[in-house]
């Protein structure tokens, strides 16, 4: 029960903790400031750079000029979507890593993106629809199915779901999904064409309708994830210790999985599969504020959109004709992943 965890003495003694808490609150405020700056940059930077003053007037007193149109029609939806998708992926990564006690847990690596992709391509192939609400439901179903499957396979056998085993189970399940996705995609050039753009993952080219469709799911998932901070802390102490503190591991795990599926499913449905953000964000956050989920979750919630929008902006600037967001995150995230693997103790990996 969520409330039962609240009675547990998880808090460190108050007096010594006060300066550090202030520091963490301060950090969170700074991070929010960084998000604000990123948002402005995201509205201003692109194929056509727009000075911040024009961005302001374009947003709040649109005069029908081209700048105002670009801000209103293109960059605002893209930026808002980036905030929502980034927050969802950052939180999902943090919850996944806490649930599995696995620093390598990540929606992309654990087959969740693969499952969502397969479901979306199946819908495109079968129903010839091009409708984002259908994508959302399909992506949910696919993400949930994949998450359950990977966990079942990874947890089988002696030793349970160790970090390496889960990643490998993810690779196996992903491989089947990729093959099936390729099969469906290659059935007709039309399906292929519909899917090839979706599969790289991007914030570009989505209108506000897409955001409106997924936002309720992301909101519910985010609230659920944030409420789980204490139970996740208790889980982090280990199954038995957590239970003896009055937390219910089974309930925390079920609710956490629901949050992950809601968050990943809607993020993937809205922007396509975006890799490594869910891996990188909680990793950086834990290095900065430690393992306490009451801080890890809010920090992840704010840091992830900063990084996702940063990647999106970088993609607009780096290459002529734009680099999709998902490509940029893969190219920044994969080296980080390899570094973590290299640094990791051989015993664990």
């Amino acid at each position: 029960m969520l409330s039962s965890a609240r009675r547990t003495p998880l808090r460190t003694p108050v007096p010594a903790d006060v300066p550090r808490r202030r520091l963490r609150w301060g950090g969170l405020v700074l991070l929010a400031g960084a998000l604000l700056l990123t948002v402005v940059a995201s509205l201003a930077i692109g194929a056509e750079d727009i000075p911040p003053a024009r961005v302001w007037s374009g947003l709040f007193s649109p005069d029908g000029s081209q700048d105002a149109l670009i801000v209103q029609e293109l960059r605002l939806p893209r930026t808002l979507l980036g905030i929502a998708v980034g927050a969802a992926l950052g939180l999902a990564g943090a919850v996944m890593q806490a649930l599995t006690r696995n620093p390598l847990a990540e929606p992309g690596l654990l087959g969740v993106n693969g499952g969502a992709s397969l479901a979306v391509v199946a819908v495109i192939a079968a129903f010839r629809v091009d409708e984002v609400l259908v994508y959302v439901w399909a992506a949910f179903a696919g993400a949930a199915g994949a998450a359950v499957l990977v966990h079942l396979i990874g947890a089988r056998g002696r030793g349970g779901a160790s970090p390496a085993r889960l990643v490998l189970a993810g690779a196996a399940v992903n491989a089947v999904f990729v093959a099936l996705t390729a099969g469906l995609m290659l059935l007709t050039p039309r399906t292929f064409n519909g899917f090839r753009f979706w599969q790289v993952g991007t914030l570009g080219g989505r209108d506000l309708g897409v955001l409106a469709r997924v936002l309720p799911f992301i909101a519910v998932g985010a609230v659920l994830a944030l409420l789980l901070a204490r139970p996740l802390n208790a889980l982090g102490l280990g199954e038995d210790a957590g239970r003896s503190l009055g937390a219910s591991p089974a309930r925390a795990r079920a609710l956490g999985a629901a949050a992950v599926v809601l968050l990943c499913g809607s993020a993937t449905a809205a922007a396509g599969p975006i890799a490594f953000l869910g891996l990188a964000v909680p990793f950086i956050v834990r290095a900065a504020v430690g393992p306490d989920q009451r801080w890890v979750l809010p920090y992840s919630l704010v840091l992830a959109p900063v990084l996702l929008l940063g990647a999106d902006i970088a993609g607009r600037v780096v290459a002529p004709g734009e680099l999709e967001t998902g490509i940029v995150t893969a190219f920044l995230g994969a080296p980080l992943f390899m570094l973590m693997v290299r640094r990791g103790r051989t015993r664990d990996l």
Binding site: L104, G108, L109, I153, G154, R156, G157, R158, G159, A164, R165, V167, L168, A169, A171, A172, V173, N174, A175, V176, F177, V178, A179, L180, A182, G183, M185, L186, L187, P189, F192, N193, R196, F197, Q199, V200, A275, F276, L323, E324, G326, I327, A330, F331, A334, P335, F337, M338, V341, R342, G344, T346, L349
Partner: protein
């Protein structure tokens, strides 16, 4: 039980069971290839295929068999052989059943090389082959360098996980290239990316055959040392095996095999992973079973191609091997976990 053939100073050890398994595998592979040749818009019964192959069929059948369909079957057999062999080499060297070249990014890198050539530079068949090989070699180098730790060396799950990261990055690059191409070109490239034997001619089969004529004997010659390497570096050193040099040569041969296979058939998934494992279980012997693994690879790819030809819709062979191989990998994980291997 092991027996040996002696001829002067040469002695060849062989096991009846392994020999039997190899014979059966070769028969399965050849049989599947015959049926592959017989499948198509004008089905040809197996006896007629064999007759045509022996030069005793009628002219029309002979044309269809040797000019149109045989190169596909030969490419499949040789690519399967190369993938099985290279999988056995890498799994033995990493001492991990998951250290196969398709899981650690080599085939993805090879695909990246080929895609760059197809979609960006627009080179012909030879250029595609060379770029694909270069992609595999560069990826292998990068993965080994990143996974290498002074003192600890390169082995085990660390290598596999670094490879998983590299594969993710290269896959992103591949999808990017696919989105930037014309629909028709991209669609063709996507077939290639899945691993396909469609439309393979002697242009693909002959270079692959030449590469294998060099690489397969080299691999088999190094095979004995591979077995000793599995005992551990120190033990192998004590037995007089130059560990580092052998490993370098084995990596070169293994990557060469993957590159040759991928250049001809695309990154066919999972044959390299599954073949060595199946070969071990069939021969019931521990350690790298190079020849059985190679023959298992050939049989797997030929059978996969036969299945893909008889699906109700036209799908490349990589879809079949991907689905079967991924399911197999999942099963492998669940049983190796019980023995505490991974």
């Amino acid at each position: 039980m092991s027996r040996s053939l002696r001829a002067g100073s040469l002695s060849l050890r062989w096991e009846p069971r392994s020999a039997l398994v190899c014979g059966v595998l070769a028969l399965v592979a050849a049989g599947a290839a015959v049926f592959v040749v017989g499948s198509g818009e004008f089905p040809i019964p197996a006896p007629d295929v064999v007759k045509a192959l022996l030069g005793q069929g009628d002219r029309a059948t002979e044309f269809i068999v040797t000019t149109l369909r045989l190169p596909r079957a030969v490419t499949g057999l040789l690519a399967g052989l190369a993938l099985g062999l290279s999988g056995a080499i890498f799994q033995s060297m990493s001492r991990n059943p998951l250290g196969s070249p398709d899981l650690i990014g080599f085939t993805t890198g090879s695909a990246t090389g080929a895609l760059l050539q197809i979609l960006v530079f627009g080179g012909g068949a030879v250029a595609i082959t060379v770029s694909s090989a270069a992609g595999a070699v560069l990826t292998a180098l990068a993965v080994y360098l990143v996974a290498y730790r002074p003192g600890g060396g390169v082995h085990g799950v660390r290598l596999v996980l670094v490879g998983v990261g590299a594969a993710a990055m290269l896959e992103a690059l591949n999808s990017y290239l696919i989105t930037r191409a014309e629909l028709r070109e991209a669609y063709e490239a996507a077939f290639w990316l899945t691993g396909s034997l469609n439309g393979r001619g002697w242009d693909q089969a002959v270079p692959l055959g030449i590469a294998l004529a060099v690489l397969v004997p080299a691999a088999l010659a190094l095979g004995g040392r591979l077995g000793m390497g599995e005992l551990g570096d120190d033990a192998a050193q004590a037995l007089g095996v130059p560990v580092q040099r052998t490993r370098a040569m084995l990596v070169a041969v293994g990557v060469g095999l993957v590159a040759a296979a991928t250049a001809a058939a695309g990154p066919v998934p999972f044959v390299a992973l599954a073949a060595p494992q199946l070969a071990r279980r069939l021969t019931r012997r521990a350690g790298a079973q190079l020849l059985p693994a190679a023959l298992t690879g050939a049989a797997l790819l030929a059978c996969g191609d036969l299945i893909s030809l008889h699906l109700p819709v036209a799908l490349p062979v990589g879809v079949v091997t991907g689905v079967l191989g991924g399911a197999y990998l999942a099963w492998l994980l669940s049983i190796t976990g019980r023995k505490g291997m991974v």
